[in-house]
């Protein structure tokens, strides 16, 4: 297997602090502009596969839009799991409470995995991503 860089997107398409999804060689990849430094990560959240480009990027920390799991886009490491539900001191309705109990049992086994990162290269105003080919 060898790694080769594929031109993915023009650098000026993503403002600092922004993200954009591209598809390279069948891989869904989110390119993040961390203050002029570009990082590329797998598009799907390591918790429940939510599309990460819809989340928020603060520095090199990406927060998933679904359950707020956080990832370091530089290393791909999961730095925080999903945020537990908050009912603001009120108890949920009995039916919803029952549902939550069942969900909790199921979700207990769901782990937040780190996400894959891809090497990036900025050349002549273009961001290239390293993809692996056979």
């Amino acid at each position: 297997m060898s790694e080769m860089f594929v031109r993915a997107i023009s650098a000026d398409e993503i403002a600092p602090g922004g993200m954009k999804t591209v598809e390279v060689d069948g891989n869904e990849i989110v390119i993040c502009n961390c203050g002029g430094k570009f990082h590329a990560v797998r598009r799907r959240c390591g918790h429940m596969n939510a599309p990460l480009e819809m989340g928020t990027l603060d520095g090199k920390y990406l927060t998933c839009p679904m359950h707020c799991a956080q990832f370091d886009v530089e290393s791909g490491q999961a730095i925080s799991g999903p945020v537990p539900p908050d009912f603001g001191g009120e108890s949920p309705s009995p039916i919803f409470g029952k549902y939550l109990q069942n969900i909790d049992v199921l979700m207990k086994h769901v782990r937040t995995e780190s996400i894959r990162t891809y090497a990036t290269k900025l050349e002549n105003g273009w961001v290239s991503i390293a993809v692996t080919s056979l």
């Binding site: 999961a78 925080s80 001191g89």
Partner: protein
């Protein structure tokens, strides 16, 4: 999940809030690490990093006032004692946090 990375991320997020308010992290690295560790435990349990030295009252409005960094909610008191309650943050001009007196709001003349 790596606790070292999480603490680093918390520092990054907190720094952006506390700097403009005139505070910085305590120079006591051991205390800082200990407090961030406790906040991580609280964050894992409740979803938000509550102040590790304050009790939760299960009253949302009050509990939200002790989410770290809680400086904006208690500015008068923290300005008087030049640190936050748990000591994770101190005024930017403080070099030795151990010399700071611990005063209640009443002792600080705020009540």
């Amino acid at each position: 999940m790596n606790s070292k990375s999480r603490k680093k991320a918390l520092c990054y997020f907190f720094e952006k809030v506390v700097r403009p308010l005139g505070f910085k992290f305590t120079p006591d690295a051991e205390l800082m690490d200990f407090l961030l560790e406790q906040e991580m435990v609280l964050e894992g349990k409740h979803g938000v990093p509550f102040c590790p030295c304050q009790p939760l009252r299960h009253d949302r409005a009050r509990d939200m006032q002790i989410v770290c960094p809680c400086i904006p909610f208690h500015r008068k008191h923290f300005a008087a004692i030049r640190r936050c309650w748990c000591g994770l943050f101190v005024h930017t001009d403080v070099l030795d946090p151990n010399t700071l007196p611990q005063l209640s709001p009443k002792e600080a003349g705020l009540e």
